[in-house]
């Protein structure tokens, strides 16, 4: 239904920041994704309040109970139980804590370290830049999971080490992004003006350059968040991350792999949780990128 042209309304001009928010706000799927993520984070934070049982409690008389709609499900166990009688719902809730908070921590680490390294490369140029770039290229040549696996193999299998390994794996992306962005900003007038004023090094970077390159960094962060969750889960699945009985989603999949025939819900549910989280994060990232990029017309 097309409406005819309205009589002249005053042309509203928006500041760039308002425009970004507007574009984002009208993107329904991105908003939905944001809400889902916020709900997940809330669920993770309030897990002890929401969970029906403790994540490690074993109920020996309700082993392998299926989730609710089924005839054989047991009361109180919303999503069924596993082979040790532990409540799936509660374990998934507590598992959210690991995936989400680890994901955030990993991104924070890679972001901070990567941005600073990239800034150094972009501002110093010369040999420093070349060395850093080559090092990043080499790190990127090793497939992600492989690098993470090797690092964990060296440090020992634990959740913390897995998180560290994944941070290292995601690190080069931020370095390259920041370096490229810094280089393209360095020729701009506002940077030159600032330099004439006497700023250099970190004094130049943080207040002056960084705000102007934040858009691609934000988008990369959501992408890295998704990858972090998937990588941690993969390491957990391979037994190189979270160790049982920690209910991290990936390691839940590892221990329930053998139950696939008798208790498929122990396999489908944790994976579904990962999928929903990562999907929301990716949709959010797409939405942010569309809102922040002036040229994009997806």
């Amino acid at each position: 239904m097309m409406k005819e042209i309205r009589l002249s309304e005053s042309l509203v001009t928006l500041t760039p920041r308002q425009e970004v928010w507007y574009k984002f706000r009208t993107n329904r799927s991105a908003m939905l994704a944001l809400i889902v993520l916020l709900l997940l984070i809330a669920a993770a934070i309030f897990a002890p309040l929401i969970a029906t049982h403790g994540p490690y409690e074993q109920f020996t008389d309700t082993l392998l109970a299926p989730p609710y709609p089924s005839a054989e499900s047991k009361a109180g166990f919303l999503l069924g139980t596993d082979d040790l009688g532990r409540d799936m719902f509660s374990r998934l809730l507590y598992g959210a804590r690991y995936s989400l908070f680890l994901g955030l921590a990993i991104v924070a680490f890679s972001l901070i370290g990567g941005v600073m390294t990239g800034a150094i490369a972009g501002m110093k140029r010369g040999l420093t830049e070349t060395v850093i770039l080559r090092l990043m290229d080499i790190m990127l040549a090793i497939p992600a999971i492989l690098l993470a696996i090797v690092i964990v193999a060296i440090l020992g299998a634990s959740l913390v080490n897995a998180a560290l390994a994944v941070s290292i794996v995601l690190f080069p992306h931020f370095v390259r992004l920041t370096r490229a962005a810094v280089i393209s900003e360095m020729g701009r007038e506002y940077v030159l003006a600032s330099q004439l004023d006497g700023s250099k090094g970190w004094r130049l970077f943080f207040p002056t350059i960084l705000p102007n390159i934040s858009a691609p960094l934000i988008v990369q962060s959501t992408l890295s968040f998704s990858n972090a969750i998937l990588d941690i889960a993969a390491l957990g699945f391979l037994g190189l991350g979270a160790q049982p009985p920690v209910p991290e989603w990936g390691s839940l999949l590892s221990s329930s792999r053998e139950l696939i025939e008798v208790a498929p819900w122990t396999v489908t549910l944790p994976g579904l949780a990962i999928l929903v989280t990562v999907l929301a994060s990716n949709i959010l990232g797409d939405g942010l990128r569309d809102a922040l990029d002036p040229k994009v017309d997806a």
Binding site: M2, R6, S8
Partner: protein
């Protein structure tokens, strides 16, 4: 073909363009005629709708634009009623178009030879050897230096002027009756501009082609057009023979355009006049005449009613859209 037979008749053409659920009028009530051997110039600022008009005539308007009204009769047949496939038989063969940015308008992954050959292949039944011959013929017609080398080149290797010659070659390859030129010289250097204009004029004369020449530059159009149509904010505001226009402009906008020509810089004015203000933005609709806010002759009626395009009393071969045309009255209705 009689030199003055009418090739193209555009009737009440209107194109809307849709954005976020509302539609805006890009062009409205556009009517014009082009005869064989005649050049019709369409003049206007960017945003006046001149390019949209040309694309609408070709049937190339795509979402978010859509055709709202009008007929485009080419040799009596309404092109807009044809299906895309039917229309594509005419495009490139009987009606051709050349564009403003010649290098951007050529496909970067095909050579010049391949691109011109394509037109010959789909519209004719020349055999390969004959097409190759015609290619070379066309290249020399448009005055392309280093013929063989150019044919083997890619667009990005050639200059803007050369690419425009290529576009012209493609456009006239099948001897079209009508050529639409959308700002063909705007992106080129002044000297090259001249050469292209001369080339177009010559081709037109030799083939008795009708031509629509779109530009924002009055001095360019004066060199090439027989008739001029002035567009403003999506509508025609003046329509007359070139000589008439330069002798006496009827619409205040036309007068302002003339005044802002560099050659009209006079010591009396002591500066070049530019037209103050800007065209109404997309979607802005004023209750009265669209030019009124910038018109130095505007009176009360102008902000309250919209003038219609009508013949000028003193010389009915001219049309103007104004209640108070300069140098006299007009007999148009409201």
């Amino acid at each position: 073909m009689d030199k003055r037979s009418v090739l193209l008749e555009v009737e009440d053409l209107g194109v809307d363009f849709e954005s976020h659920g509302t539609s805006y009028k890009a062009i409205q009530s556009i009517s014009l005629k082009v005869s064989a051997g005649e050049t019709v110039g369409i003049v206007g600022e960017s945003g006046s709708g001149k390019s949209v008009t040309s694309l609408a005539i070709m049937g190339l308007i795509k979402a978010p634009g859509f055709l709202r009204s009008g007929a485009v009769r080419f040799f009596g047949k309404d092109m807009l009623k044809l299906s895309t496939r039917q229309r594509s038989r005419y495009l490139g063969r009987d009606i051709s178009m050349i564009f403003q940015e010649p290098t951007e308008s050529l496909n970067p992954v095909f050579t010049i030879a391949q691109q011109i050959d394509e037109v010959l292949k789909i519209h004719g039944d020349l055999r390969r050897a004959q097409r190759q011959e015609r290619l070379r013929e066309l290249m020399s017609i448009v005055g392309m230096p280093e013929l063989e080398k150019t044919l083997r080149s890619w667009p990005h290797q050639l200059s803007g002027g050369m690419n425009q010659r290529v576009m012209i070659a493609m456009a006239i390859a099948c001897n079209p009756s009508l050529l639409i030129a959308d700002e063909p010289t705007t992106a080129l250097d002044a000297t090259v501009q001249q050469q292209i204009l001369v080339l177009l004029r010559r081709l037109q004369r030799e083939n008795n082609m009708g031509m629509i020449f779109i530009t924002h530059d009055l001095s360019v159009v004066s060199m090439i057009a027989d008739k001029i149509i002035v567009m403003y904010a999506g509508q025609i505001v003046e329509d007359c023979a070139t000589t008439d226009l330069f002798q006496q402009a009827l619409h205040p906008y036309t007068e302002a355009l003339l005044k802002s020509l560099p050659e009209n810089y006079s010591s009396a004015n002591n500066r070049m006049d530019s037209i103050k203000g800007a065209q109404p933005g997309i979607g802005e609709q004023l209750p009265g005449c669209s030019f009124q806010p910038r018109c130095s002759y505007a009176r009360e009626r102008c902000s309250q009613q919209k003038p219609a395009l009508g013949p000028f009393e003193k010389n009915p071969s001219r049309s103007v859209r104004c209640f108070y045309p300069l140098a006299g009255n007009y007999s148009g209705k409201l």
